[in-house]
Symmetry: C2
Subunit: 266 residues, 2 copies
């Protein structure tokens, strides 16, 4: 399993410390780096525009790496060293250190496409699930308020299962972003108890869909920008039920309905 | 905040130990009890058919309790004692010990209604979210294979946010259950890559919707019973995407589509 010492790099204590420090946001911010673990995820990222800084892997995995990056640094290391730098229970064959991509908002895309806006989503699990959802439904951009959970937390990175390679996630000042969207007359959807029935209302092909914080919903500041209030009707109408759906479930139902309309029109 | 010692029961060490032991499934099975924490959840349960065994609460909370159970045991205890028996970070005003309800499957309901079937769902978070989803969409029964995550785990109980009071969750031998459903000619839906397009296929008002394990999907044994294979189409068609949606997201999209059909027909 392990590779021979003669041909393997042995990781220095400092290197191991640096990689393990990427567990914390302050260290990710300071270095501009994040960690991705496991073949599937690392290989998905290597196919994307996200730039790899260094890869650490078994010799076997090294032989399978395909990358368009000319200067990619690949280190074959022992399984023991991989265990030291990984956060997973089962040691992966490959650990990648990647550069956190610079967020550049393409307003032409935002104008024409469907985009998710996350207003202070706190749960890392929800964040990962929503990125996977966006990927499934071809949503290319997710806009997050500055105080949302961090996508580059190792747990969130893993939970996106590679979707991170295909969905651009931007952390922004939400009021500034929403102002600009409003000026461009982009439809802005948000879910409220008293909104229009999701299944019966008109839906545009483009627009922003705002999802609110787990406990407090959409903030007052953001609510001011919502031009289309919608609601997911509970069933049967008028019967007592849970007060709300989990935010990731609500997002999935709304995105599904947007895409259903397009698919059924085709 | 605390109540005076003279009027408050002080909990014995044994009592505290017994309550805290309900964290483990073997102890819940041995005693037939589970714990629910916080006013909203306990009050929701008191309105349901689930039988309370004992309630521990502040004097203030005690005065707000409304119950149809004549013999309900209510103990006013100190905040410190509530902290000792609670699993939450913030000490709740009320902790309820309830009896795990006996599972009685009403086949008339199963025949006529929409029912979720969970085949070895492992993640307690998914379990809680799916119960909330079922509540939202008026799904009265969830059938779980014996090896699914336990609904009565304190974390799952809390995450259902009261939905547990309105949705009956049954743990069964799945093959036995599915056999009977087949004999009754109940439509059995399951998601597969090669299934019919969810948005375009016929959907019955009644039926079982089977959701598979997080890693392995629907088991081979259960697959044999599926009479209606469906798929949630990704978007746009033919573009590379995540391999799958999270099981709770998939469940929400499917249940939403079933209910949309009913709502839009009304």
């Amino acid at each position: 399993m392990g590779c021979q010492k003669s041909s393997c790099k042995v990781l220095s204590k400092n290197k191991i410390k640096l990689i393990r420090s990427l567990d914390l946001k302050k260290n990710r911010s300071a270095t501009g780096l994040f960690i991705a673990q496991g073949k599937k995820l690392v290989f998905d990222l290597l196919e994307s525009d996200i730039v790899a800084s260094e890869l650490f892997c078994t010799r076997q995995a090294a032989s399978e790496i395909v990358s368009h990056q000319a200067d990619l640094k690949i280190e074959s290391v022992d399984k023991e060293d991989l265990a030291r730098i990984s956060f997973l229970k089962t040691t992966p064959d490959i650990v990648g250190i990647f550069r956190i991509p610079k967020s550049v908002i393409d307003w032409d895309e935002i104008k024409d496409q469907l985009t998710l806006v996350l207003d202070a989503i706190q749960d890392p699990g929800n964040m990962g699930t929503i990125v996977r959802l966006a990927d499934w439904f071809g949503i290319r951009n997710i806009i997050c308020s500055d105080d949302s959970a961090d996508l580059f937390n190792p747990k969130v990175v893993q939970s996106t299962m590679g979707a991170l390679a295909r969905v651009k996630v931007h952390y922004v000042s939400l009021s500034k972003f929403m102002n600009q969207a409003k000026e461009l007359a982009i439809p802005i959807y948000g879910t409220f108890m008293e909104g229009e029935n999701l299944y019966k209302c008109d839906l545009t092909v483009n627009g922003l869909v705002v999802m609110g914080n787990e406990g407090n919903g959409i903030s007052e500041n953001t609510t001011a920008f919502i031009s289309r209030k919608i609601t997911i009707p509970s069933y049967p109408p008028g019967v007592a039920t849970s007060e709300s759906l989990n935010v990731a479930m609500a997002a999935s139902i709304i995105c599904s309905e947007f895409r259903r309309r397009s698919i059924c029109k085709e």
